[in-house]
Amino acid sequence: MPNVEETYDIVVVGAGHAGCEAALACARLGLETVMFTVSVDSIALMPCNPNIGGSSKGHLVRELDALGGEMGKNIDKTFIQSKMLNESKGPAVHSLRAQADKQDYTREMRRTLENTDHLTIRQAEVTEIIVEDGRLTGVKTFSGAVYHCKAAVLATGTYLKARCIYGDVSSYTGPNGLQAANHLTDSLIANGIEMYRFKTGTPARVDKRSIDFSKMEEQFGDERVVPFSFSTDPETVQKDQVSCWLTYTNEETHRIIRDNLDRSPLFSGAIEGTGPRYCPSIEDKVVKFPDKNRHQVFVEPEGLYTNEMYLGGMSSSLPEDVQYAMYRTVPGLENVKIVRNAYAIEYDCINSRQLNATLEFKNIKGLFSGGQFNGSSGYEEAAVQGFMAGVNAAMEVLGREPYVLDRSQAYIGVLIDDLVTKENHEPYRMMTSRAEYRLLLRQDNADLRLMKIGHEIGLVDDQTYERLIWKEKAIEDEMERLEKAVVGANEKVQRFLTEHDSTPLKSGSTLAELVRRPELDYFTLAELDDRRPELPYDVAEQVNINIKYAGYIKRQQQQVAQFKKLENKRLDQDFDYSEVPSLRREAVQKLNLYKPMNIGQASRISGVSPADISVLLVYLEQLRHQRR
């Protein structure tokens, strides 16, 4: 008999960005939840870059917020600089990114967790999962304590058998020298879970006092800050911001790196894990892009109460002496003092195709997972998976239907569908180019897309929901008004158009038609629009975008309608595809391996052809009739 034995509804393993969202979602839905971490001081830790959001990641945070997640609110409380990226581009690729005060971020999230009912935080290393008859029934910790539960979410991040490496120095620790989790992998393998080994890395942190900022370009935040969370009052986030700094590597930096490549564990073979191509180490960049004679280095503060600065763009696993030498060739860093060395980290994660789109393991009922454990990368990617895994674990315990977002609903849907459907051999990062319907999946309309779902789950309150319903109506009314409102070709109108380099009117025009002109928009047209009602900015913004890009939006909506047809054809998880006559062998193998949830997902599996899908459709139709 174990000396300690407790019972919860839900166990969450890990307290990083995935674990926090999972635990909060479950506890807020009223389920008794225990969250394990190897160190309570490292809750919601940001062990790499000091920011939240960025291209497509900002979308994820917005979506998470609309569903009732915490990340957006937490960064709104703790940011020290904020920027809307891609502002000069189309609305689909605008993306919010905020520099965080790392310690503040951790502290605020911990405060929220500690004050959430039904949530218990426990510092302990989970070493085993307990599975009976294909169902998860509990976990065991290093001390031998047993926690019975109805469902569990694994969110171990980069801690499983973690190893940090630079030069020939390597230590079996998690990020920042935190204790690694060395036992759980064995228990997972014993339960039939296939593991991968991935790698990532981080640059050095340096002392601000040793930097000559006069040789760098100052990078300011936006004058008007837009909050991440739909529930944050924009006025509360207008505050003093700190700057980041831009400098560049040069030929001398690259020479030092090339001369020392043989001492890099990445090139000597000491690191086996697969690294991400989108955030290559500086030595990777120098090798892969020999023609580039300089690379950007962003010097970013780690917080308000520390002198540590993050050297974005120069992650590395070169030996300590080489790190010093190369950093010191960079203008402004000639006398730099390193506080923490750059390092690469290797860790165990899973082959994520073992998961359903609900993020539950196909072969272990009640076991869910999220975050870097699933082979993704990034705080935001982790948070949204943790949230979805937590929600679906809760739904299972509550006997409710699971929630799966599809590729036409959210970046979250794209991310999870990619993870569970496609071959993935490197830490997966979200990118706008991965979303087929990105004109519809904008960061500005995440609330309109997802808040109803959040409310239905039970994580968005009624008041917020009612505001959303009002907003929908307001947008619709205003769009309708603009389609009908006609302006004549009078002198005032023609003068206005000439002033805005726009062709004068031949006859009357609706305001909507004028909004569609590239050189005009809803806001500039206020001058001609006498009957315009007073509307909040977020409503006006939607009206403008919806009218301006109506053609493209309609096209994507048509594509989505096509996509949904296949997506709505559900497939039985126990179905044996070898029963289908004349299905090609490769297709049978792949389909039996992946067990897709619907025809749409089946069609995205590499090795399954359109003809295979046709054959499958015909066969399923026959089966359906026979069963009747």
Partner: protein, 458 residues
């Protein structure tokens, strides 16, 4: 015109005789026909009634194409149980193809192989016990389409398309990496550069569309193989048929060591003629390859023209060839009637069991009789175009049209000052369409290109 889920194809066999039917099925079938059909009074019908036949003309814009009967069936009372329109036209193969292209231009998309049958089945119009038969149709048609779409495309054309795809993908990857990493990669002034890059690509696409019209890209027609012993006069015959000196003709036996392929129209019938190396037992390695290839080609042919040199006695090689053509559609030509004859037509007819036509390629006699012979085989329905080849051809042309359309959309977006992220939407469409032609899917090309060509990230 944007493609919908309304499909179209030629529903009858592609033959020069009789009436052909172009079938359209799907939600927008009626919209499509109303865009291209006008009654005798020059107007489209105000509304279409189900199970009515309309008489009139098909128009591509202002150009009148053919006199037709249009049969309208409202779903679910049709073969596919969807709204369906059938166009009965009588202009022969070329006109059917032209009408199908017009239907595609005005909003339908080419049907996938077996798709009408599939839809009929899925909509409950086909007896469920026939599911396996339906699956077999889909599989068979797909296998053929796969094989033919690749084999029909000449190497030079697929090379050009691959090259264009590469260039388009590079531009998409550049835009996307700049969007994903705006602080590392700038798009300042990019629109103007892209415009310059796209100009030659759009021109190239337009050229390919024009050559698709001439039938120079995708070879279609009755696959006809000329077979015979070395120096029987196969290449001379080919030249006579083509009316030009194309194959190398010498008096040395075994000159044609590879396979020559040409496309001709003979009294309204398309022939895709292949000249082959002479068939004989040989020790010459190069010649042997030619011989093997000739046998292979003959095995895939719709029609074999077996050329016999009448001035030499028949030998073991002739018997071998006669064995090869035993169960095949074959016309035997007794060539070199201008020289002293060692073989008679009667003798040959008895031995081969095929029709024998005496000709002289050199004197150009007997050629008309040969044409007559082919024509009769065709009109008696013993020879057919392969529908799938046609469909593939139309499909490929439709993809090229859509590529051009997408490239123009990008240019329009640049002109009207749209943000750069809109460019990549249309570029991606062009890239996908070109991929359809050469049978290459998208998969993870873009992500690989982004990481391979552009340096991103922290």
């Amino acid at each position: 015109m944007r493609k919908t889920d309304t499909i179209a194809a030629v529903a009858t066999a592609m033959s020069s005789s009789g009436i052909g039917i172009v079938r359209i099925s799907g939600d927008e079938a009626f919209d499509v026909i109303l865009r291209i059909f006008r009654r005798k009074n020059g107007k489209a019908p105000a509304e279409l009634k189900s199970h009515r036949v309309y008489y009139g003309y098909i128009y591509d814009g202002e150009e009148r194409l053919d006199e037709v009967l249009v049969l309208v069936m409202k779903g679910p009372h049709s073969y596919t149980a969807e709204d369906t329109v059938e166009i009965d036209c009588h202009g022969g193969v070329l006109m059917m193809k032209r009408i199908l292209e017009t239907v595609l231009k005005y909003g339908a998309r080419p049907a996938e192989p077996g798709e009408f049958t599939k839809r009929a089945f899925l909509n409950g119009r086909i007896d469920l016990s026939q599911a396996e038969a339906v699956i077999d149709v889909i599989n068979a048609k797909n296998q053929y389409a796969l094989k033919s779409s690749v084999s029909q495309l000449s190497g030079a054309v697929s090379e050009r398309i691959r090259d264009m795809r590469g260039k388009i993908l590079y531009e998409i990857a550049f835009i996307e990496s700049a969007l994903d990493d705006p602080e590392h990669i700038s798009l300042d002034g990019y629109g103007e550069r892209l415009r310059e890059t796209l100009k030659p690509l759009a021109e190239e696409t337009a050229r390919l569309i024009r050559s698709a019209d001439d039938g120079r890209i995708m070879v279609e027609g009755i696959k006809t193989v000329i077979l015979g012993k070395p120096n029987a006069g196969k290449s001379s015959l080919m030249n006579v048929l083509l009316g030009e000196e194309r194959a190398i003709v010498t008096d040395i036996a075994g000159t044609t060591r590879d396979i020559l392929e040409e496309h001709i129209r003979m009294q309204g019938i398309s022939l895709n003629i292949v000249d082959t190396a002479g068939i004989r037992e040989t020790e010459d390695v190069v010649e042997k390859i030619g011989v093997d290839r000739a046998k292979q080609t003959a095995a895939e042919a719709d029609l074999i023209i077996y050329v016999v040199d009448g001035s030499c006695p028949l030998d073991e090689n002739d018997r071998r060839i006669m064995e090869m053509v035993r169960d095949r559609k074959c016309i035997v030509l007794l060539n070199k009637t201008d020289l002293e004859q060692e073989v008679t037509a009667e003798e040959l007819e008895q031995l081969s069991g095929k029709r024998v036509v005496p000709v002289s390629a050199k004197e150009r006699t007997g050629i008309e009789e040969l044409e007559q012979e082919i024509k009769e085989l065709f009109y008696h329905g013993e020879l057919n175009f392969n529908d799938e080849v046609y469909i593939t051809n139309v499909r490929q042309k439709a993809a090229l049209e859509e590529t051009l359309e997408s490239l123009k959309m990008v240019q329009q977006s640049i002109d009207s000052g749209m943000p750069e992220d809109f460019y990549s939407i249309d570029l991606m469409n062009a890239y996908e369409q070109l991929g359809l032609i050469i049978g290459e899917a998208v998969e993870d090309d873009l992500v690989n290109e982004i990481f391979g060509k552009f340096c991103m990230g922290k």
